[in-house]
Amino acid sequence: MKRHVFPGLKIAALFACLLPLQAPAATPKTDLVWGSNLPRALDPHVVYDVPMQFFMLNTYDTLYRYEGNPPRIQPWLAESHTVSADGLTWTFKLKDGVVFHDGRKLTAADVAYSFRRVLTLKLGPASAFSAYLKPEGVTAPDARTVKFVLSVPYAPFLAAVPLIAIVNQAEVKTHESDGDWGSKWLASNEAGSGAYTFDIKTYRPQEIIDLYRFPKHFMGWKDNPNPVEVVRAHTVKETSTRVLALLRGDIDATDSYLPTDQVERLKKAKDVTVAEDESMRTLLIRMNNSRPPFDNLHFRKCLSQAFNYDGFIKVILKGYAVRNPGPIPRNLWGAPADLAGYSFDLKKAKAECDLAKAEGAPIGRKLDIYIMSEFDQSTQTAQVLQADARKIGLDINIVPSTWANLTTMMGKPETTPDMWVHWVSTYFVDPENWIGQMYDSHFHGSWKASSWYTNPKVDSLLAEARRETDQGKRKALYEEASRLVVADAADIWIYNTIQLRGLTNRIKGYRFSPVGSGGEIRWISIQK
């Protein structure tokens, strides 16, 4: 009887039969599966963040490029450059024989078009230039010369040049509509000259990007006998999933922010290594210096000493981070080598708190700390502070939020929260990227300057460092500014990141740089 009654069972049995079929090994020998996060869109002039760096460094070229750790700026598309004595006119000479992926020759006009495009769209990387460079300031006097005329002298200009990908002007222009500079098209396409080309057929936004080696890349491939032919970049969202995928060989590389709890496990595994590289990415707790009780120096000093730096770095992060006591990453010039900063001492913290109280600071109120809930470390940081501050009678309330909401909130001191946790990554390798944009009151209103810290002495030091072209003099200026900001306990600076990336052992020649975090595939060769 049951034979007739339940066709469902037959279907179920059919499904069951299919299950034991092992999926065929999908990865050929010269393919590489990259398991890091992917950019939200593909236009390097619109989006600029860490996932974009991966895409941009592989598919586009730039005038100069950072290589190595600590990063050194190197000529790339440009052969050389000159600066006028007043620091306003910068002239770049291009290399010969560079071709785009469609075979067109790259000329100075493409470079000028790319910079103008960024400066007009005013998105992504534009903020590094908008204060001193107008679109009209970029010209191409001849096919191999690009000239930039700045409106004010700006020493970190060269450091920011590697941000701008050079796009194929002719190709982008054919896809322009309504004066959008082709941004609708470029959001899901690529028009570069980089070492890899992008395949639109298999593209799935934020899910899959397939890259193919570009044999005619201007650098040539002589240095790499076994290059990666195809890069299949897949987003793997959850870190624990990512680790498992690496262990099972589903992917060849994770992102470079492995949770420290997983590192031990990967180190024990046979075919996997963990690349540990100190980067330039600082973690800090921001304090809104304009709002009581954070306007009180004693109170800020109290909180600075109420955070368990060692416990956080040594126990929770298992030592995979380096204490960074000031605003500038300790491995970058401009960070004072002897800066001690603050250390965890609840007794001293309590004493500072009492002083603040005596001065009338309202320390009894509930203090909000905003976190980005998608980052576990951001939560943990807030919780470590919360737990210890409770011991000295401070009531800290954790508010989860998102990057987009937080950056909107930083526009005004009234909407800026009491505290928030964030990282400052390497957008360009110059102290300006950190202390310059974080503590100069000119930048108030941007998320980087969200402490609303005001100190005229610091402002003038930073302004001078911006004008000065001699790096030795600039170093001294930044060191002095750092000491002042730390003495004011403007924020709670915690660590400089050690980037951890899991790699399978087929990967050779992995090169880490804080810019791009080691995602430049052209250096990697595959062991056969």
Binding site: D261, V315, D376, V384, A387
Partner: protein, 279 residues
């Protein structure tokens, strides 16, 4: 009490009742019962991610807190959220349903079309959108859940009122000149109380599930609150080694929701024998 007698005969419903009674007691005395009350909020990072042991029955979490104590204290927040949401949804939905069911005309029609619109999107999706529009945090999550749950009450009440309003006693009251408000509140409402209670009981379980989901997505409760959904979300990056971290809060959700569902089913069978489903 014939209702109670019939309920006692229904073994699953009695089980549900006992589970809920236990959970309510746990919630009330959570701080007394929890073996390590200081470790509910206070971190103890030297003892992080310990597996279950006699000291820590359910192990410890990433900040070295005792998961057993946190799960126990978590009953408080789970019940508070569920109760607030259900009461709030009732406060909106019941008057709406009464009005739409008893009065007629365009306003009543509008109320029912409004419920149509709210029911046109699955509750969780709408709640996500609403919670996102309000600022983040537990309060907005609760408001979002109530905002999206009231139509269920309105529908239930509407249907019941439609059924009873044509009955003789209502017509008699109308004949006696009782005011519509009086009829609705004093005479119709008690008649629809039973289905409301059933809906509310089932809604408690449902709300606990949904709010845990919101917590899991980072929209509901905030750290360090011992919210079950949040705990599971926090546990994910420690898998599969720290299996206990996600297992026990999940079991807590399962047991609690099971309790409410069992009781709710039992009540429904008694209130509406036509809907006898499980037997």
């Amino acid at each position: 009490m014939p209702v109670l007698k019939r309920l006692l005969k229904d073994i699953p419903a009695v089980m549900g009742f006992l589970i809920i009674a236990m959970i309510i007691l746990t919630a009330i005395f959570a701080w007394q019962v929890a073996p390590l009350p200081t470790e509910v909020y206070g971190s103890n990072i030297l003892e992080r991610l310990q597996p279950p042991s006699p000291d820590h029955l359910f192990g410890t979490d990433a900040l070295g807190r005792d998961i057993f104590s946190r799960v126990l204290v978590g009953t408080r927040s789970a019940l508070t959220i569920a109760l607030s949401v259900v009461i709030l949804a009732m406060a909106i939905g019941v008057p709406m349903g009464l009005y739409a069911g008893y009065a007629s005309g365009w306003a009543a029609e509008l109320v029912m079309r409004l419920t149509d619109i709210f029911l046109a999107v699955p509750q969780l999706i709408l709640a996500l959108a609403v919670a996102q529009i309000l600022s983040r945090g537990l309060e907005s999550a609760m408001i979002a859940l109530a905002m999206t749950y009231w139509p269920f009450f309105a529908r239930t009440v509407f249907a019941e009122v439609q059924r009873t309003k044509t009955s003789l006693f209502v017509e008699a009251l109308e004949g006696l000149g009782a005011s519509p408000l009086r009829i609705a509140v004093c005479h119709l409402l008690p008649n629809v109380a039973a289905p409301i209670i059933v809906r509310a009981t089932l809604g408690m379980g449902f709300t606990i599930l949904t709010s845990a989901t919101l917590g899991f997505l980072g929209i509901g409760a905030t750290p360090p609150s011992p919210d079950w959904g949040l705990m599971i979300a926090e546990s994910r990056q420690y898998l599969p080694e720290s299996w206990w971290y996600s297992t026990f809060p999940g079991l807590a959700i399962l047991v609690t929701v099971l309790g409410f569902n069992l009781l709710g089913d039992g009540l429904r069978d008694i209130v509406d024998p036509r809907l006898r489903r499980s037997r």
